[in-house]
């Protein structure tokens, strides 16, 4: 499942590029890209245990808050930035998106779709959604700015960002006829390759 996701991201990332992974977790993705694409990767991760895992894998990591990190990275030069499943955890996702495109020309964003039918169903029954890719209850979640696929694409439009490519994935990280036809209802996850217009 996760490996499908890696494959998608891998497709969009050229060989030998300098990649910044915001919220890189244990460095698994960067390690994979290093081995498969000889990528010069760098991660930002707030969780010390995960940052220590990056060190174990020999993936350079800066242990800090993404919100803060992005500001400080302003004049650094990366080819591409990845923000996998973390935009919804940021204080100002809109500012972050713009800042990211100062750091690198391209940016890959993945996000959980809050309008997925399973979320709608939970809400219909009066409960905050707890789903396969939003497994944490509302009182413990780090997701403070959840959005839908429609919302996110609207934001990109408002910020004058160009979506070069996008994929709508179901719960198994696969595209299907349904996710393609009705993404906002059937995609559990949106994956975007974005550039400045």
């Amino acid at each position: 499942m996760k490996s499908d996701f890696k494959r998608i991201i891998e497709k969009w990332i050229p060989q030998n590029t300098k990649v910044l992974d915001l919220g890189c977790g244990d460095g698994g993705l960067l390690k994979h890209l290093k081995d498969s694409k000889n990528v010069n990767g760098f991660g930002i991760e707030i969780d010390i245990s995960k940052a220590n895992e990056c060190l174990r894998r020999n993936i350079p990591v800066m242990q800090c808050d993404i919100d803060e990190g992005i500001k400080e990275f302003n004049d650094l030069d990366f080819d591409i930035t990845i923000m996998a499943n973390s935009i919804q955890c940021l204080k100002n996702p809109n500012l972050a998106l713009q800042n990211i495109l100062n750091i690198s020309n391209k940016c890959i964003v993945t996000l959980p779709n809050f309008a997925h039918w399973s979320c709608r169903l939970d809400l219909f029954f009066g409960k905050m959604p707890v789903t396969k890719n939003l497994p944490v209850p509302w009182y413990e979640t780090k997701n403070i700015h959840l959005c839908t696929i429609k919302d996110f694409e609207e934001l990109c439009n408002n910020l004058d960002l160009y979506v070069v490519e996008k994929l709508y994935l179901n719960n198994n990280f696969k595209e299907s006829t349904l996710t393609k036809l009705f993404p906002n209802l059937f995609a559990a996850e949106g994956v975007y390759l974005i550039e400045r217009n």
């Binding site: 940052a51 220590n52 060190l55 174990r56 800066m62 004049d75 650094l76």
Partner: protein, 362 residues
């Protein structure tokens, strides 16, 4: 663990950055573990301002300053790595310094050449040559020792595989220098100082040295840690160091300062604080940290502590960001550290795992 302490004579001239020179010099050095056949498992551990070569193990009732980090199965595993710890030139624990004698047999006192961090690196490079070590697996240290590690990676990029910079900065701040100057002034104004020639008068400016250390000690701790440890607790009358002491913190500083003044040399104190003040890795590179780091080939780990107000975390971040900008492989770990600046000395699970993972990763 095999432990050896040796005073090693380097019988060649050391040209110092100041223009002065030492015809020959001695380095008091500790060795832990064994150098392998390929001679590629050597680790250089650099001590902080008032530290010594004694980094691990118990000796004469004293435990080494990084004992929890160096040993079999410890953070730096001496079953794998050969650890070398050198007492810095200019210090007073056996290496050449103000207490040593010059070629005419006269004690240097305050006339020992004023050193810079880069001179320590040069002296240790000469030691490495003598030992046949062509490349350090790791050079690591905290505070002034971290600055020294950084200098190693910049001065001899091909000789350093990994570098660990702990609770340090790329340069000392104006505040650092200011505090150091107060400490020096207190020593100089001790009536027993005799312009640094106190030993000729069979004296030592222990009062000044004690007060200097008391101030220094405060800068190594955090306000929070002091509050937790001492708060506003009053000192028990029976165990008062001095009569006019009221609070426990006063007593603690009096005790620590006094003990320090018995074992440290005042001229060394002045010299070493000046070494610290002078440090600015970007000096000579148009003040560009990025340019200074340009030649580094080592993988870099920077660790800063949020409770450290001597070298606040922004210093560590700056080194890391400049490294990334210069396309270097650099990691930055930020921990609270309970002990202020001194946190780098204390064991902590995350801290030790970070260092261990960094050292052992391939």
């Amino acid at each position: 663990m095999i432990v050896e302490t040796k005073k090693i004579l380097i019988d060649s001239k050391l040209k110092c950055a100041s223009g002065e020179a030492l015809e020959s010099f001695e380095l008091m050095t500790d060795f832990y573990g064994e150098l392998n056949e390929k001679k590629d498992n050597a680790v250089l551990v650099c001590h902080a301002f008032s530290g010594s070569h004694h980094a691990a193990g118990k000796r004469d009732g004293n435990i080494g300053w990084w004992d929890e980090f160096i040993g079999p199965d410890k953070t730096i595993d001496t079953d794998r790595f050969f650890v070398i710890s050198v007492n810095n030139l200019g210090s007073c624990f056996g290496s050449s310094g103000p207490l040593s004698k010059d070629k005419n047999g006269e004690r240097f006192n305050s006339n020992f050449p004023q050193l810079e961090v880069i001179d320590w690196v040069e002296s240790q490079k000469m030691l490495a040559d003598k030992l046949g070590i062509k490349k350090w697996h790791l050079v690591i240290g905290g505070s002034l020792g971290g600055m020294q590690s950084l200098q190693w990676a910049v001065s001899y990029p091909k000789m350093v595989r990994k570098v660990g910079i702990l609770a340090a900065a790329a340069k000392t701040s104006s505040q650092n220098i200011a505090l150091n100057e107060v400490e020096r002034e207190v020593i100089r104004k001790d009536s027993d100082f005799h312009e640094g020639k106190y030993l000729e008068f069979n004296k030592s400016p222990v009062k000044g040295l004690k007060a200097a250390r008391m101030l220094g000690h405060i800068t190594y701790l955090s306000a929070k840690n002091m509050d937790l440890r001492f708060g506003r607790k009053l000192q028990n009358t029976n165990s008062k160091i001095a009569e006019d002491v009221d609070f426990e913190i006063e007593n603690y500083l009096q005790y620590k300062g006094g003990k320090f003044a018995e074992s440290f040399d005042a001229n060394s104190y002045i010299l070493l604080t000046k070494v610290m003040d002078k440090f600015d890795i970007a000096h000579g590179y148009d003040d560009s940290l990025e340019a200074a780091l340009e030649n580094i080939t080592a993988e870099v780990l920077v660790v800063s502590f949020t409770s450290d107000w001597m070298f606040p975390t922004s210093n560590g971040k700056k080194i890391c960001l400049a490294s990334i900008k210069a396309n270097k492989k650099c990691s930055y770990i930020e921990l609270e550290g309970e002990h202020g600046h001194d946190s780098f000395l204390y064991p902590n699970e995350y801290y030790q795992i970070a260092i261990k993972n960094f050292i052992e990763s391939k």
